[in-house]
């Protein structure tokens, strides 16, 4: 019996040792590689414009479901999770904005689960998701980091303007943007029809050349103006926020993806055929498209881009200059 007890205890120690020995600790190789790849895009992204924006300025927190791995350059440290939920977002930590993103492994698993629940399909059709669960690759994760880092840059730069915009129409952080958009913009058939028309004109402008391009843009902008007249202030403010802040982040994200995957994959994921869907996704797409139009028409627009005039103001300015 004594021998049995010794053997039993030894088995326990051996199993505990094997468990500890085979476990993987720290940030995975995949996530390190993703971060390294994201940083390697700095030069390409600098050419894009927004010269003051650099991913290297922001710490990236990879959340693995239990804790955050905070990466800054070559340094990686393990810290308590600041949010403890899966989210791609920016968060203020000790006075600075940091990028929060799930680890690639967790994000992929989450995507699989959301895919099984139909959420990805819904997100794809609404435009809030550019990837299916099958196509969400490591490079897509890199692009997502750039998207969130751009939000960190926007928040640093425009927080006062964003607060003022929301305050002007009595919106607070608790107000759900999806609810506002669905209730006040999507439920208005005239506004929805104008949005669709505007998007069609913008797409034609993107394909068009010279004067024709300018005409389409100006027509689209006049439709945007009509929309603003018929929508309540809160919907206008939320649309402006989504189109300019989320749209420009989508623009940055798409360029990061293009840089890694090339034009064909970029077109497939970001330039698909537009169809009107309820919710905020369509503004991401419209904002990105306006950014791309500015690339075609107004070189160096990124340096002048401000929340005072937004994409529409910048496009109008470019067309009038010409």
């Amino acid at each position: 019996m004594k021998l049995f007890k010794i053997g039993y205890a030894l088995t326990g120690f051996l199993l505990a040792a094997c468990t500890a020995f085979t476990g993987s600790y720290g940030l995975s190789k995949t996530d390190r590689e993703i971060y390294r790849r994201a940083l390697s895009l700095e030069n390409d992204m600098e050419k894009m414009g927004f010269s003051e924006f650099s991913l290297a300025d922001y710490k990236v927190r990879f959340y693995n479901g239990n804790c955050d791995y905070v990466v800054e350059g070559e340094n990686i440290s393990k810290e308590d999770a600041v949010l403890d939920v899966f989210a791609g977002t920016v968060w203020e930590v000790e006075g600075e904005y940091q990028v929060l993103i799930p680890t690639y492994e967790k994000f992929s698993a989450l995507f699989d689960m959301l895919g099984a629940a139909g959420t990805v399909s819904q997100g794809m059709s609404e435009g809030t998701m550019a990837f299916t669960e099958e196509s969400y690759s490591e490079n897509a994760h890199v692009a997502t980091i750039w998207h969130e880092a751009f939000h960190a840059w926007q928040t640093n730069r425009w927080q006062d303007e964003i607060d003022a915009l929301m305050k002007r129409v009595n919106l607070s952080a608790e107000d759900n943007r999806e609810d506002i958009i669905v209730r006040e913009a999507d439920e208005n058939p005239k506004a929805a029809a104008l949005f669709e028309e505007e998007m069609v004109l913008l797409e034609k402008a993107y394909e068009g050349e010279g004067e024709e391009k300018k005409e389409y843009i100006l027509k689209a902008l006049s439709l945007a103006e009509k929309r603003r007249e018929i929508l309540p202030d809160s919907a206008n403010a939320m649309e402006f926020y989504l189109e300019n802040l989320e749209g420009s982040a989508r623009y940055v994200e798409s360029l990061a993806y293009r840089s890694l995957e090339g034009d064909k994959a970029w077109e497939e994921h970001y330039m698909g055929e537009f169809s009107y869907e309820k919710g905020s996704g369509k503004y991401y797409q419209m904002g990105m498209l306006k950014g791309l139009l500015l690339d075609q028409t107004g070189e160096g627009w990124q340096e002048k881009f401000s929340l005072e005039e937004g994409f529409d103001g910048a496009l109008k300015g470019v067309c009038q200059e010409e």
Binding site: M1, F4, T11, G12, L15, A16, C18, T19, T22, G23, S24, Y63, G65, N66, L83, D84, V85, F86, P102, K106, A109, L110, M113, G115, A116, G118, V120, S121
Partner: protein, 256 residues
Amino acid sequence: MKSSVGIIMKTALKERMRRKELYIIVILAILLLLLCSSDVTSITMNGEAVTGFSNMFLLMHTLVHFVGCVLAVVLSLGTIPKEYERKNSHLVWVRNISQEAYHGGLTLANVCASLSAAAILYLALGVYAVTKGHGEVLLRMIPAFLILSLSISFVSLFVSVMSIKLPVMAAGILGVIVMVFGVFHGMIGLFKNMLGGLGGKCMSFFLFLVPDLSGIQNAACHFATGEKMEAHLIFVLLFSLWVVSLGLFIFRKKEA
């Protein structure tokens, strides 16, 4: 001690094999497997049919694991308390057999009965693979079953050990909770991260305590289909089995 455990186990196993629940669930599960594998029934995800051998095999492997774990709860729950109710325990004490040996024997019988039922289901899965022209997985399914059996053994062992100390109902509820958290470990882990707050914290705590049985199921399935698998999960589960088995030495029945 060894021989007494063996005799107790053998007797108890014979009795488990006579239980009708075992056959009803196995027959129902095999019917379900056959139904899933037939071309008549199509399983859909996001409105799209799940087709192809690898997808179907994964789906059916998950099903076999789940049913195996349910059977482990059903077959293990209440068997030890019943022995005491029927005063069978007295027949053992008069032979000077220790409680540890007695409980150990009964628990081993529970584990063996659960694994036998799971083996029948796994065999049905093997038949499915062959009928679909993937006989090559058969050989790999043998070690894969050994991996899967760790998960089923854990559920059976846990329920058996808990039933020594807790009333049958409480042991059953706890067993089902542990089984659900284990079998859906990955999914619940993602859900708690989306949930956050106190609910998320409670889930985190349970997930920390319960080994990842879904990971073991995946590892077994990956092994069967020749993909890479993670050894760490297997060691975690072996260690968990060791920890739970300590209950056989710690927990004692008062009625004895």
